[in-house]
Symmetry: none
Subunit: 324 residues, 3 copies
């Protein structure tokens, strides 16, 4: 579809959240279609996880987004989908890859939303494809378990914070979940959640460096809990780490099922977003260093540094590989 | 994309206007891409005309719309695009054709919006295809001229109208044209205009028969004048004809460039929409007859009857042909 | 949240209606949460009234709106909420107060929409707070009764009106109430109604003075009747008064429950909006005087003048007080 002014920031760069939302819709369509392809129980695919994704080049207003999706692995109860986004300038014909994302879906029964339906197996062209898929499946399963434990953290308000401290840029928004945010099952689309997360993370980044910022990458996101229609969700973000030219922001989504439900507020999702600051010519700008004050902030900064160095090393390894 | 609650009426049937908007977006993308495919002046394709289109079967919430577009003819300054819409139930896998539409676009220069750019010619598989396209081109050109003359008509308000008269159901809305309604050239997308037209026509139909209604077909729509960002548009509809099971509504779009422009209000588009009334089981219901009062109303009723009988005859001829 | 192009007019000033909608959403969330905080009947807070609110400074595209809400009084069946809106320029860090609004909500049972649920009392820091709240409660109750009687008025169409007369700028729109306009109870959010009211009032003001206009204030709005999903609402506005630099517009909302309901069209809301005209530099411009023709128009002009002078006197008294 054509990118419109509302999909973009004031500099004309399309929000990462808009792209994440399109990716998720494509993934949900292909995996729901696959899971209903055999005459089993009717079901709807719910997003369980998005693997780390990089925004390779910014998309602009007036460009057309081409989204393609393919199922690359199936376990008994989950589907792995690979989604590619190409941006096309229809005036010049120029095309470039914007994103490659890997998503995991779980099919839930249309009759009983707490029941996970069995997934029809796909055929692999080669045996290695299946083995590699299985390896990815095991890895993400482990990672899901780990993040579940980290989820207790909350963002406390800070009064009169100093510039460039964590408290200075931290932000949150609340959103009442309406019908058009939801799937046929009455739960929020994963893509809607990711779009709100990107919006908050973008505000945190802009407050910190006061320039035009764009999403550079999103770490793996795990959707631990479903969010129902009528909930109020609180999306909060705080900066955890800065390198010379990038900022890492941790985002939490908490759901408050305050009507019709005996349940307490719970953590539904959490994730790390990385942003860069761009000059008017689209060049990356230096970023002010994050000032850490408490022990927890210092610890999170070190952890963020670890993730940053790990990603950097991985990227260098890939570049060397492709140069060979 | 997946049809959402907001795309549909309360009975779950997707608004014809939502489908028209998707069709137009697909047409605009393919024709803008084509017109920029040779190294000429950068341009954007603007919708000039939509041929009569039938809504063959209603689409529902949760279904996926598959839109495909193909260029079928090019003249020196215009492009003919054929768009097909299939609805797919991703739970059952069932697919059906919802719409086939033919649209005409004119490429306008990005630098000078009043300049029409030359269209690169397409290659035809057979000579007859080109000849048939040329015939369609000449026909629509003639029809465009004719409707331009009809355009002086206005809808006058009626005080305390009787049920089932023209004045009883006539309706109008105003809309301030915002940035996301517009193309790169700052003019309203044809699809946005058609969506508003369908909204007004649907309200006229519902006011007349007070039941669940759906769009059955749209007559050829000619876009005589562009509408600029910041304009207020008035979309008005009145019923012109009823058969036993259908209602014909005429819709006008007037633009009011009231800020920063010396220009008077002008007629930008007009068209006829046909609606049917559906029972809860989706069966067509009888429609109360339209009561005509003035001479003009009686004349328009007879003209509507003419269009109705002509369409009916054409459809029967097609059915006989396909039965042979 | 960040203000987007679609939230603003072509001069970049955010529509008053967008701000009113955010205010109402915050109020609805906090009062629904409060009314469900004790183990009573599940309920949803419905907007009953908004006190007069001034737009202290215009908000622009790219700014972030910070909305905070607090419950300031509870009666047995209603909740008073105070909402503050700050606009923040995230590039410069500059913040300013945009709005302060007071809203009254009534909790309706989720099981029986016609039943008003009891409100858990709040604790007051000082006895005077409770007494002042009670006084405000009694005042608004009286005002609600009064406006209910005024509500019979309708806006009649005028044919070929002269510039600057009432008939020249009067406008109306129709809107089909869709799922995302509604609360969990299936009734229109008060904020959605206010946004449409501001849209119509803004078009009336722009038609009158043909310049860039912004909302300056909104008088108390009483929501007498709920509006159900599937209704068609007609929002109409007419100018009632002009001072040298401001315009007062009266707006009516009528609901037409035409499908599946035996009920006639009814008046749901009415209110007065005040607009000012701004030059390109953001300075207030003189406004053409409203030409009144009929006796009713002259009477309404005088009533508007009364409201204008009263507000002016009140503001001057406040300024003297704060200067002391």
């Amino acid at each position: 579809r054509i990118m419109r002014p509302d999909d973009a920031n004031i500099a004309g760069n399309v929000h990462g959240g808009t792209i994440l939302k399109m990716i998720e819709e494509a993934g949900a369509i292909i995996s729901t279609r696959h899971c209903n392809s055999q005459s089993g129980e009717p079901c709807v695919a719910a997003l369980a996880r998005v693997e780390r994704t990089d925004f390779l080049s910014p998309m602009c207003i007036g460009e057309v987004a081409n989204v393609s999706a393919e199922i690359t692995y199936t376990s008994r109860h989950s589907v792995e989908v690979q989604v590619n986004v190409m941006s096309e300038n229809i005036l010049t014909g120029a095309k470039k890859v914007t994103n490659k994302a890997t998503l995991w879906y779980v099919p839930l029964s249309l009759k009983n939303v707490n029941k996970v339906v069995e997934v029809p197996p796909i055929q692999y062209a080669r045996k290695e494809q299946e083995d590699e898929g299985k390896k990815r499946y095991e890895e993400q399963k482990l990672d899901r378990l780990e993040t579940k434990q980290r989820n207790g953290d909350v963002i406390l308000p800070v009064i009169n914070p100093e510039p460039h401290t964590v408290g200075y840029s931290q932000s949150s928004l609340i959103h009442l979940v309406g019908p058009s945010d939801c799937t046929l099952l009455g739960f929020v689309h994963g893509g809607v959640t990711m779009k709100l997360m990107d919006e908050v993370a973008g505000i945190v980044a802009a407050r910190h460096c006061k320039t035009n910022i764009v999403t550079a990458s999103v770490d793996a996101i795990n959707f631990h809990e479903k969010i129902k229609k009528g909930c109020v969700i609180t999306v909060s973000g705080r900066m955890t780490f800065t390198s010379n030219k990038s900022m890492e922001i941790e985002v939490f989504v908490d759901a408050d099922p305050f009507v019709d439900e005996p349940r307490e507020r719970y953590r539904a999702v959490s994730a790390f977003f990385t942003y860069v600051s761009l000059s008017k010519e689209g060049k990356p700008l230096p970023v002010p260093q994050l000032l850490t004050e408490t022990e927890d902030e210092k610890r999170r900064f070190e952890e963020g540094k670890g993730r940053y160095l790990q990603t950097k090393a991985k990227r260098q390894a890939q570049m060397q590989q492709s140069a060979q």
